[in-house]
Symmetry: none
Subunit: 127 residues, 4 copies
DNA sequence: GTGGTCTAGACCACC
DNA sequence: GTGGTCTAGACCACG
């Protein structure tokens, strides 16, 4: 289901969150749909259940999913909106990154080039 | 001298490295110039000497500065070149960041806007 | 596991690095294998964890090992190549040493004898 | 007089000792000859007098020179012998160096080559 | 459990 | 005074 790189330096639980968000943005996971159980997902991805649980907890605290005790986790109605709203923060972080790069002597045009040279569909899937 | 944010999630020793690089790029620290001593800088920034030492060691291993035990640390002749060369890697990381942002549904134009709206001088100092 | 001499003038953390490199060259530590944990090794060698950490950090920065925070440190695929390439520098240092010895009046033949009289297996283990 | 490299990582006081020994081995400084005063040498080489003093003290303790209070330092009668005898220790250190190099996977033949490729006169002067 | 960062304080060699 | 190494002990994020 989700694509996880266990050797990446970005925490696995963040990768899970990113993947869930990506699936929601792309419409693969729709509001009301049930998430895979923590146990199943941890087995499928060969991950520690605690790691999956941490991702689910974060998604739950951000109201992107909600858990029904004894039944499972489900996608919230306004999950997409919350994610898109969260992108504001990401853009803020992005600005900080850009600022640092410029301060270390990199030209703005180089950054623009980096963005343009990426061949990625707008729906988020790799070409 | 250097601007450090102890609350940032980026390690203090990396902030020191970034600041030193920035000063070198801006020409404030020139080749052959002596760096502030580990002890002085640690006092000035209210840091543990080991933290400053770690930053200096990394700069030394990257040949941006060189240390003469018992005398002090000095800016290397080709410090600027090494730093600019290191920016290649930073651009590579930047691409990864951009890729993730686009995959989470952010439009390229928004990223371009983020770059353009920054009011930063080309020499790296904040306005 | 590793042989450390706490009384040597060569820093302990460098001794650890040398031992790790030796084990990799000899094929005892293979690519992908997990390194002993920082804590375990520090206990086993009766060292401070920070000392071991410093050795591991250096090995990581030289790409001989790579660390996955929360999981452990692993031998890189091309660790052996990197080490052998690093030996070029060692030979350069060796030349400097030889030069000084000759300048202090030692005959080249004596140096050749020193090399030949060593009883060391080609795989690096003491007889 | 002496060639000192203040940027070298080999301690200055050791460089002084090495230079004095080299001059004695080459016959430039003969037994009974007076050494330059600590003060003069420190001025001439732009060094801290303490550094020169440390070198002289070590040479004195090894009986290579002897000091006559109020007059100066002089080369001992058997200075050359002492130096050549000291070379035994250097050869012992050299063996240790060679052992480590071989243990890190360097072939003996490469070390022999390093020795042979040096174009240095036996009397210690560079060609 | 893992690695990573930081502080506090010590000792050393060198200048 | 300088940089370099080491210990002790703490805290954090991550699995």
């Amino acid at each position: 289901m989700f694509q996880i790189d266990p050797m990446s330096r970005v925490p696995i639980y963040e990768q899970i969150i990113d993947e869930v968000e990506r699936f929601i943005i792309n419409g693969i996971l729709k509001p009301g749909a049930q998430m895979p159980s923590v146990r199943n997902l941890s087995v499928e991805l060969s991950l520690n259940p605690n790691t999956v649980q941490k991702a689910y907890s974060e998604l739950d605290s951000r109201k992107i999913i909600f858990s029904v005790p004894g039944k499972g986790c489900y996608i919230s109605e306004n999950a997409k909106d919350i994610i898109l709203q969260g992108n504001r923060e990401k853009l803020s972080d992005f600005k900080e990154t850009v600022k640092k790069l410029i301060m270390s002597g990199i030209d703005k045009s180089e950054l623009h080039d980096c963005i343009d040279c990426l061949n990625i569909c707008d729906n988020g899937d790799k070409l």
